[in-house]
């Protein structure tokens, strides 16, 4: 039985399968060209880009925590222009479906970065990083206010027809309201979640373990929270959702998909196993076969909620 893994993530963009390399966890994609068949991935979300180059934070930039890791990379990057000139052609060659994750310290910067990408060849979609916990200005500043979210999304919407995917922060009281704000401002899909603001302390030196003091928590530790957030957003909007947070295997991905995600991103797991992608595809295909399902769309949002019953039946 052949199964159909393709998914439509909005804005007219169909992916051959739901597995996307998460931004910041896959360099610019080209680093992995020797290890992974980039064309076999649903898409590649490249590292967050500002208009200009950025150095990011000094080491230590990561620290491991129980079933997770903190990072405070600080969005080191080559800037959107060098990306278009130096990386995009190679990604095209590899047949990668490229989602470009963009950042800004101002609404104007977001719009400018988007405008440059709009004119470039080989960009499949823009993921709007309004949720990075690791920079002082921009990032989460926009993503943790409904107004900020709306305004950034609307501004970028005006300058591009590319599929537009704001990436939500989990560090808010009501993530679904942000999905609504993003939709109202013209988003084609939303992705969630970015990392959780967190910190670790070296008790011997009594210093933070990260040079930036705080960083973002990713990995399996956060998965149950991320799944809950996808579930909440699914009930609030009908936009395609791209779920992520601690996906280590096909079963984890299915939790997100069943909760309502159309596609998923895999970040931290790719550090542990750069060859994970084939395993994810095999696992998902096996699941569909085992359950006698023709396509992944039968699974998306298929969560069966219990009839609410009296506490003591």
């Amino acid at each position: 039985m052949s199964v159909d893994l393709s998914v439509n993530i909005g804005g007219g963009l169909t992916l051959a399968n739901p597995f996307i390399a998460a931004s910041g966890c896959f360099g610019y994609g080209v680093e992995y060209a020797g290890v992974v068949d980039l064309g076999a991935l649903g898409a590649v979300a490249v590292k967050g880009l500002f208009l200009d180059e950025r150095e990011g934070h000094p080491p230590e930039r990561i620290v491991e925590t129980p079933s997770g890791m903190l990072n405070a990379i600080g969005l080191q990057g080559i800037g959107v222009r060098r990306f278009v000139a130096e990386k995009l052609p190679r990604l095209r060659e590899c047949g990668a479906v490229v989602i470009v994750n963009i950042c800004g310290s101002s609404i104007e910067e977001y719009a400018e970065v988007a405008r440059i990408l709009d004119g470039a060849e080989g960009v499949a979609a823009i993921e709007l990083n309004i949720s990075c916990p690791n920079i002082e200005k921009g990032g989460m500043m926009f993503g943790s206010s409904l107004r900020g979210t709306h305004d950034v999304v609307a501004a970028v919407r005006r300058v591009t027809r590319l599929p537009l995917i704001p990436k939500l922060t989990p560090n808010v009281t009501d993530v679904a309201s942000f999905a609504v704000a993003a939709r109202d401002a013209g988003a084609d899909a939303v992705s969630l979640v970015n990392t959780f603001l967190a910190m670790a302390i070296d008790v011997e030196t009594r210093r933070p373990r990260l040079s930036n003091v705080v960083g973002g928590l990713s990995g399996p530790a956060i998965r149950p929270i991320a799944v809950r957030m996808v579930h909440e957003c699914r009930q609030a909007v009908s936009l395609p959702l791209i779920g992520m947070g601690g996906i280590m295997n096909a079963e984890d991905a299915l939790e997100f998909i069943i909760a309502g995600a159309t596609a998923v991103q895999v970040g931290t797991a790719n550090f542990v196993d750069p060859f994970i992608w084939k395993k994810l595809l095999a696992g998902l295909t096996g699941y569909l076969r085992r359950h006698g399902l023709a396509g992944l769309t039968d699974v998306i949002g298929s969560l069966e909620l219990p009839a609410r019953n009296a506490p003591c039946a």
Partner: protein
């Protein structure tokens, strides 16, 4: 291209309460590994610990049939190194490699001085073998806490390497830092003799070696030990501030552009607390 193998532990030789040499059946990696390259290792499945850890390829193992695997020189400092210390033959270790930029081995008439501190010995067995194959005259300056932590000296002697030792407690060789014998030797060596230095060990030691060598007009290749999340250029965790030409320092990924760097380009103050 790196490969990822589920390598079986062939043997585990405990050298001291903290050090061991773990032999892994990973011939596909070993056969391609160049001196100074590393592997990303994860001894268990599961989420704890989550990430792999970087280790230099210590020896390339051979029997009559050819290359059979590689070994790691491991020092216990935390969760993964503790596990690697305790593994028994037959256990499996995920091992991804070879990774990173190797040393550039000297060529005669250039001489090679390797400077190792503690577990920083690891990349030099392979380098010594490569140097011998090229006919380069080589010396190992090797410092450790005590005589009991100066390992595998015979193996280096067999590779024709001269040894200059130092221990913190004076139990063997110079009493104090490995820079003591190194400085003496630098002063003694005719400046006209071409020489290249290689250093691996604690950051302050590599910095001192680089500066010392520089004062004598010599260049040092250092193998830095940054914390690494992926080993493949994906995460940007492993950066080192490098100053090239007259430019401002840049953070470059030591898993791709290193771990071996020209010591003179490293902005030492900008390295992490380690």
């Amino acid at each position: 291209m790196p490969v990822d193998v589920d390598a079986v532990v062939l043997s585990n030789a405990r050298l001291s309460p903290d050090y061991n040499v773990l032999a892994l059946a990973a011939p596909d990696i070993a056969i391609r590994a160049k001196p100074g390259q590393f592997v990303m290792v994860k001894p268990g499945r599961g989420d704890h610990p989550l990430l792999r850890r970087p280790f230099s390829v210590f020896e390339v193992l051979r029997d009559t049939g050819g290359v059979t695997g590689l070994s790691l020189l491991n020092k216990r400092i935390g969760v993964t190194t503790r596990t690697l210390f305790g593994l028994e033959p037959g256990a499996a270790v995920r091992c991804l490699g070879p990774l990173g930029r190797p040393f550039s081995p000297a060529a005669p008439p250039e001489r090679a001085w390797m400077v190792a501190g503690g577990v920083g010995l690891a990349p030099f067995h392979g380098l010594a073998a490569a140097l011998r194959a090229r006919g380069v005259e080589s010396t190992l300056f090797y410092g450790a806490r005590s005589a009991g932590e100066l390992f595998r000296l015979d193996a280096f002697r067999r590779l024709g390497v001269r040894l200059a030792l130092a221990t913190d407690d004076g139990s063997r060789g110079d009493h104090g830092r490995v820079t003591l014998p190194l400085e003496r030797a630098l002063r003694r060596l005719d400046p006209a003799v071409p020489l290249r230095l290689y250093a691996c060990g604690p950051t302050p030691m590599m910095r001192a070696v680089t500066n010392l060598a520089d004062a004598h007009g010599r260049r040092t290749e250092v193998s830095l030990e940054q914390v690494m999340g992926c080993g493949l250029g994906g995460c940007y965790s492993c950066v080192v501030p490098i100053r090239r030409g007259g430019e401002a320092p840049r953070f470059v990924r030591s898993c791709l552009d290193g771990p071996v760097f020209d010591g003179g380009t490293v902005v030492w103050d900008g390295l992490g607390a380690g």
